[in-house]
Symmetry: D2
Subunit: 269 residues, 4 copies
Amino acid sequence: VAAVATAIHHADGNITEAQQFDDPASGQFFMRVEFSVVAAATARAALESQLVPVTRSLNAAWTLREANALRRVLILVSKQDHCLADLLYRTRIGELRMNIVGIISNHPLPSLAAIGAGDIPFHQLPVCRETRSQQEVQIRSTIERTDAELVVLARYMQILSPEFAQSLVGRCINIHHSFLPGFKGAKPYHQAHERGVKVIGATAHYVTGDLDEGPIIEQDIVHVSHADSPEALSRKGRDVERQVLSRAVNYHLQDRVLLNGHRTVVFRP
Amino acid sequence: VAAVATAIHHADGNITEAQQFDDPASGQFFMRVEFSVVAAATARAALESQLVPVTRSLNAAWTLREANALRRVLILVSKQDHCLADLLYRTRIGELRMNIVGIISNHPLPSLAAIGAGDIPFHQLPVCRETRSQQEVQIRSTIERTDAELVVLARYMQILSPEFAQSLVGRCINIHHSFLPGFKGAKPYHQAHERGVKVIGATAHYVTGDLDEGPIIEQDIVHVSHADSPEALSRKGRDVERQVLSRAVNYHLQDRVLLNGHRTVVFRP
Amino acid sequence: VAAVATAIHHADGNITEAQQFDDPASGQFFMRVEFSVVAAATARAALESQLVPVTRSLNAAWTLREANALRRVLILVSKQDHCLADLLYRTRIGELRMNIVGIISNHPLPSLAAIGAGDIPFHQLPVCRETRSQQEVQIRSTIERTDAELVVLARYMQILSPEFAQSLVGRCINIHHSFLPGFKGAKPYHQAHERGVKVIGATAHYVTGDLDEGPIIEQDIVHVSHADSPEALSRKGRDVERQVLSRAVNYHLQDRVLLNGHRTVVFRP
Amino acid sequence: VAAVATAIHHADGNITEAQQFDDPASGQFFMRVEFSVVAAATARAALESQLVPVTRSLNAAWTLREANALRRVLILVSKQDHCLADLLYRTRIGELRMNIVGIISNHPLPSLAAIGAGDIPFHQLPVCRETRSQQEVQIRSTIERTDAELVVLARYMQILSPEFAQSLVGRCINIHHSFLPGFKGAKPYHQAHERGVKVIGATAHYVTGDLDEGPIIEQDIVHVSHADSPEALSRKGRDVERQVLSRAVNYHLQDRVLLNGHRTVVFRP
């Protein structure tokens, strides 16, 4: 902390918001420092020259990023467009500071214009069991070609291969429904209805080899009742899914999420 | 609905709050009618004489209860007293309309006076693997002797035998912690911490043969963060546990919970 | 209750969900009955012939509506389109069962296509202090011409004349931000920031002569912190505004909201 | 930040959790650093000798406190004991790290034993309009005699004189109910019922000369419905009051709350 703060001070930086956390479980130390400088270009050079030796001696990983720069984001989606629509809207009004460089779906998406996709390139990449690996190659190449820094699985109902998932560690966010108690398998909202749950939830997490088990970024729930049919549960689930995903993406875009093994540190404002 | 409303009308009753629900999944119809009468005793006789033939012809189960009558409740608890303390407090200030006829614990409870147990009979019934069935006999006999209408497992950390649980169907409420995703086994708060969850919850449910899987009455959650140690999770868990249990007990005491197979219908106000 | 239930029974109707509430404060009795019938047309005639004399003798107001029929809705909006976008999206995916017959704004709305307004007629009706009453005439005539059953003020930042508001009683829903404590006057989010509040909220209510003081349908809040700038408060406020408005509109469309003087009875599912 | 972190580093301290915030509105910078040391006594001396010159040159106010030390707290209460009972319970189980040095009420409190007040000195200091200033002298002297570091108004329904309130700035926490919209005057829950609100809330704040208008520490709400009588609102209000007060007191005890003019900075974990 001292070394970093000193480096920022020497570069005429002014700390605006910062958080530090020492995890007793992992023995790792986490820090996020938001600061303003007068001249970004010169400050970056000055900072880097000081941070490199400091962080090397501490064996610390670090990133220095301009807060105003729009991150390049690729969104994958299947048939349901509620999460995509929400991400598009929040991006358009400037709430999510990102540049959506492409939308990929394994289905046609007739709603694209109505949800404001505008001129964003759309790639329909159909997939069946036999073509899974070829389709994945196409996705990979789209990620590379668009130079996407973040991939968002906005209700993308296909499983990524472990190798592909592994290659995206820390830069691919998925959303899935969550329940108390948990339900595995198909038609989770029907299972939840049958079990008579009183809350349903959603979990946004980083993708790892184990698709739905990556480090959790954000979770929330909504209350439901006996009168909610499976369709009503699904509708309420959509609401909480899109909110949780948008919040998680926003935290990521603001570099508030740090990986801590199988967990995350989320420095909320 | 027509027959019941007519019967109440003929008994000079005045409906104050009522709800009906037709469950398409189970094909069952549920109704709760709260009404006031001028003379309770005569109204009861008049109502019963009309409801008996009506409900018989419909093959409907029904109960007629005086809203002001205090229900007799037996509370079982182990070492942790946060749920018990909350139930005692809410009962004392008249929020939970019940008469606590006894407290059973498998441990000594030195805090009894400090949490306001006052003159409520306390039964310490220790248990180990070998004495489980004998201790259960003691519990059963306490239930019978006290004429308890409801048994509340307020963090009672012992498993009931399937036969005993079965004998309490619809009149025994349990509270347990719940997580997204779910964790089985010991030390759930440590598991939740290790998994890095962002919400922890609690579930109140009726006890059936399958202890933690009975019909759910109420659920809620609390948000947590990476900075919460397993102890902090456990502390926040206590808070949500006692709230959820108190709400579930209150719904039961007001006859707002109707069993619907493995689910419940909860007619909330 | 008895008479209505009997009438439904005679018309071969099957009650699916119903609620009754007797308000001791106003002395009014409220009832909502959802039921299915085999032949809607004949059932309606049969029901009406029975309900007319019954309700006349009880001096009761009543409405009989087909649940599947789309209600005709006119939306008024100013510059901010977050509530409009949410209503359009939820209508498109079938969550809000309504037919949006027009959108009126006192400003141009360049985002209309991007938020999915599609072919919905858009009426730009600019207004300044001098032209207020003429513009109101235009709005009134649009309501009449489109045969709108419900008017939604989705962040419409103009004050309606008391006479106009009065003419829309019970069929015009407004959304406004709400704070603890409340703030009067301009720039409420700046005031809330200055006051250092920890929650901000939104209230959806029926419009009456007193614009922001009509019967409340739905309210909710979102937690904020010292780190939230007035802009961040405003952004979080948008989120809760659109959720609260959508829920209120949905309750209205499902005839779950009954006026009770200055209050509402909301029979939530 | 650099100077403080360097000082901690030189004193062999290990930062466990820290947060910084630069408020653009007030131009003030806030910092909270939690750290562990091997030898507390020597570390304190070493730290102070380094922090004194640094903070003097920055014109910064600072406090250095041992996290494990129990803070001395005096609780004031009137008739309603729900907040007091909650504070006592959480203190007893070690959740609130404080030493309750006394309880003052202007009424007799027959429930003291039942809510676990145990041996805590109780001072009944009745008050009427004529004796207000004398009673305040007694309270002041009790604060001094008990060396109380924090005064908690746990539903103390008397107004403090501006001078007294002023003397407690930053070390006296009050709880009061809050509503959307706000209601002034007596019987707020009746007013809220009459207005038909759908949420009721509570606000915990530092006391200043203007009793209910001091810097807000914590706020929360609970959802209510048309079926909630004024008594039910009041009961639900009690629940949210005690939770909000306990959270605010806990934040204060952990030195997470920093005064920022009329606002607070709350560094939540």
